[in-house]
Symmetry: C2
Subunit: 110 residues, 2 copies
DNA sequence: CATATTAATCGTAATATTACGATTAATATT
DNA sequence: AATATTAATCGTAATATTACGATTAATATG
């Protein structure tokens, strides 16, 4: 048995978990930071920047693309990745809303 | 091979990934939402609330505790869990800072 | 056309995660 | 003291993740 029981939860919970999962690995955070720093997308330079192999970077990029946080445009031989700002904002709003709940609804115990 | 190459990344990247991982499963988000809603900590009622077994809930609680986002106080037979507000704020600041970068440093491409 | 570069994918392996039932240790209740 | 309740842990199993090298398909360059 085991492994993901995605249904039975609310859409918000599932979406929030999806975005959180996308940034739940240091390599993916490093990739996103790199994409933000170098505004002009950048393609395979990510591999030079990170301490992991090309195939592993490619996998992380695939996951980030699947989450929606980034998109990739083919540009000749190379691929140009960049933040998908619309999705990024959605993630920001969802995560922000989640973490601000505790400030509004102060927990009084323990 | 495989599995975690945690070093070689910055402390911030690793910490951010840690918090993100903590909330990367709908069950854990549901648990946190429940703990926030019911201010008075609550103990085993989480099991009744969620569509997963007691042992699985216990595992998720263990992970949440490991991340620091919650703490658990023994209260007789039962255990009282609640948000660790200090850690929660730290996570909020880290995540908030991360997602706001793109707003300041607008990406122009693709 | 031959060769180089780029990035995805495949195959493989190690490890982590998710989940459950069963057991256990602890405190409460009868 | 016997029994019930609570929540952690153990054992087990399925699946997912992380990682790498090798291969592949594509475009670019000589």
């Amino acid at each position: 048995m085991g492994a993901s029981k995605t249904s039975e939860y609310t859409k918000k919970e599932i979406e929030l978990a999806k975005y959180a999962k996308a940034i739940s690995h240091p390599a993916r955070i490093a990739i996103l930071n790199f994409l933000i720093k170098k505004k002009s997308c950048i393609c395979g330079d990510i591999v030079d920047e990170l301490p992991i192999s090309q195939s592993t970077v490619s996998q992380h990029l695939k996951e980030l693309k699947a989450s929606g946080l980034i998109k990739g445009n083919i540009d000749g031989v190379s691929v140009c990745y960049c933040i998908d700002e619309k999705e990024w904002k959605k993630a920001n709003v969802l995560l922000g809303g989640f973490f601000e709940k505790i400030i509004i609804n102060k927990s009084v115990c323990c």
